[in-house]
Amino acid sequence: MASQSSAERANAHRRRMVGLRQDLTSFWFLLPILAVFVILFAVPLVQTIIYSVTDFNGYSLNMHYVGWKNYHSVFTDSSTMQGLVFTILYAVAQTVLVTIFAIPLAVTLNRKFWGRNFARSLFFFFSVPSLAIMGMVWKYIFSPMKSGVFNTILGVFGLGPVPWLSNSTLARCCVIFIAVWAQIGWHATLYLAFLQSIPGDLYEQATVDGATRRQQFVHITLPQLIPGIVTSSFLLMSGGLKVYDLPYTMTKGGPGYSTYTVTQSIIQQGIGQSQYGLGSALAVLFTVATALVVFAQMGAASLISRRFQ
């Protein structure tokens, strides 16, 4: 009996040792990515939190603790608040519009027609150049001068020039339009992958039952696309909240603060104006706010998924 229990103990010890060795092997595989995470994310994040309660100016390491002063300044700065408004507008508008247009586009591209592969490549191509380059090119297309590309076209039809980038509302619309135009193709390709995983017999059965195309779209395609919508909207929302390159290259945040973004504010105030404390406080608040928005979105998506299961 005693020898049996000692054999069990020995076996258990051996199993633990094997488990430990396996854990250690996994750890060595994870070590490089852990090191990258610690050096490039965790350390800067801790530094940012520390700087956010100091008056660090980037020139002198002799910084002083200033408490919540930087956080207070963030909420009293009107430009940052205006930047926050446009950032939220941009993120929500691009998420909604891209989703609305990318799903029908994906459904269309999923059908058989002549030149389908070319059409798929063409729409995907819009997302290949960086948004910064897009911004610079579209700045000329949307020039408010008579010689601007769109205004020249309008002139051909006898219409007067439109102040695309010199009117605050139009400038906002132009920036959002380009973001949507540039990202539809990429997200349509994402939906296409999800569409191709929907079993074909669901549609065959629905056709036999006399369901119209619209009914098939509403009752089969859309519910089956929910995981795709969750992924796509998550990427759009998180990317939209971090936007910097497109509005900056097109309008530099103007006219006034109409296309100013929170990220531009962090870069401009923190690095450009050597107010690292203030910039860090803004970055910390923005990280928390973004995390909250993304978690809320994930919660909502999960609820909707369960509704359609």
């Binding site: 980037g58 020139y59 430009s79 010199s166 945040g253 103007g254 006034g256 401009q268």
Partner: protein
């Protein structure tokens, strides 16, 4: 197995060797230990600076220049900032509007006031990098903007040149508009208008304001200080002589319109003259009109960035840095800069500029009659961004002049 170990051994030895030799090279400051290595951070690229460095090294065989470059302006400032805080300060570097206050305040730049190479530097260039009577940089050239005009289009309104006063300028714009010509264009999208700075220079000259003391004033009130000049400039928009679309027009758009003969006058600096000249237009460049008759003519302009010496430099390195600045002030280096298109302001140097730029050069650059708001106030980077955004709203008509001035002053007051 043994072969594998041997290879590992060789690889390790080579690695250590490479590391040791690299570290050795860092420590010695060059391959030749007898030479003094001078580190120089510039915002001009190596193609521009190499001839100067080669000539300097030829004249000073005991000094080797270790050149590094970062493009202007935010990237350069950040590179320099990182090197200064990280104890990797360059021995000689560029000091300019955006970083001079921080560099001086944090004690990174050497006082050059009594250095022999500063004797022939013009007063306006010294004022640019001065604080409390001490000069911290050597700037050898300057620029000034003016009104570039299309002679053929001006002739349609019966004018041969740009009027000397602002009222005359507004009258000319009205005549041009009546003749079906777009009178004037500027960009507010790329930065605030150049005109209020010019007016403000004249205003400060009239009021005998010591511009080098503005940086120490508390609270900083650049908005209120520029209100009078901005009010005069805004007549252009209030009288409907210029489109308010300037808030969405880039500098390139403006230049293209002028080159295509679609606008009679633009406000720009000498850097645009070569491309305008290539277009084959009959054009001229006139000094900025005077805000009021009887004032001294000022342009929006600035000394070019200055060379500074790191304050902690000692011994041979300091001697080498002094020699380098002396060289950059020498006839050979100044002539080279003039050939590159810089308007040299060093006393005793006969500068030759483009014929079209001659009038502005004589009226503004030579006597130092130019003014750039951001050169003389604390936190110029904050001032630049807030002024640009508020000016766009002013031109759009969404705020008035009082709100514009207050918004700028409030922002400056909120920054330490």
């Amino acid at each position: 197995m043994k072969l594998k170990r041997a290879w590992k051994g060789i690889a390790a030895a080579l690695g250590v060797g490479v590391l040791v030799s690299a570290m050795g090279a860092c420590g010695a400051g060059g391959a030749d230990g007898s030479k003094t290595t001078l580190t120089f951070l510039s915002w001009n690229n190596e193609q521009v600076m190499r001839p100067y460095i080669d000539q300097f090294e030829q004249q000073n065989p005991g000094i080797k220049v270790d050149f590094s470059y970062s493009p202007p302006t935010p990237e350069y400032i950040q590179t320099l900032q990182t090197r200064l805080v990280g104890n990797q300060a360059p021995d000689v570097f560029i000091i300019t509007s955006e970083n001079k206050a921080d560099l001086i305040k944090n004690g990174y730049v050497r006082d050059l006031t009594n250095e022999p190479f500063m004797r022939n530097i013009s007063q306006a260039n010294k004022d640019f990098v001065s604080h409390e009577g001490k000069v911290y940089g050597m700037s050898v050239s300057s620029w000034a903007s003016g009104i570039v005009y299309n002679k053929d289009l001006l002739a349609k309104a019966g004018a041969k040149e740009v009027p000397e006063t602002w009222d005359g300028f507004l009258q000319l714009c009205k005549k041009l508009k009546a003749a079906g010509v777009t009178p004037f264009l500027e960009t507010i999208a790329d930065g605030p208008s150049r005109i209020p700075d010019a007016f403000m220079g004249s205003q400060f000259d009239r009021d005998k304001v010591d511009v080098t003391s503005l940086i120490d004033r508390r609270p900083q009130k650049p908005g209120s200080d520029q209100r009078e000049a901005a009010a005069a400039w805004m007549k252009l928009y209030d009288q409907g002589l210029v489109t308010r679309d300037t808030v969405g027009i880039s500098g390139d758009d403006m230049k293209t319109q002028f080159i295509n003969g679609q606008v009679a006058m633009i406000c720009t600096g000498p850097w645009d003259l070569p491309s305008i000249g290539q277009a084959g237009l009959k054009y001229g460049m006139a000094p900025m009109p005077l805000m009021e008759k009887g004032m001294v003519n000022y342009a929006q302009g600035s000394p070019s960035p200055a060379y500074a010496i790191y304050s902690h430099l000692k011994g041979d390195k300091l001697k080498a840095a002094r020699k380098f600045l002396t060289f950059m002030d020498s006839h050979w280096a100044l002539q080279r800069s003039a050939d590159n298109g810089d308007a040299i302001t060093v006393q005793g140097f006969k500068a030759k500029v483009k014929p079209e730029y001659e009038q502005v050069y004589r009226a503004n650059v030579q006597p130092g009659h130019y003014f750039l708001l951001m050169n003389f106030y604390a936190k110029p980077d904050v001032l630049t961004t807030v002024r640009q955004s508020e000016t766009q709203q002013l031109v759009q008509g969404s705020i008035n002049l009082d709100q514009w001035a207050k918004a700028i002053d409030d922002k400056m007051a909120s920054v330490k």
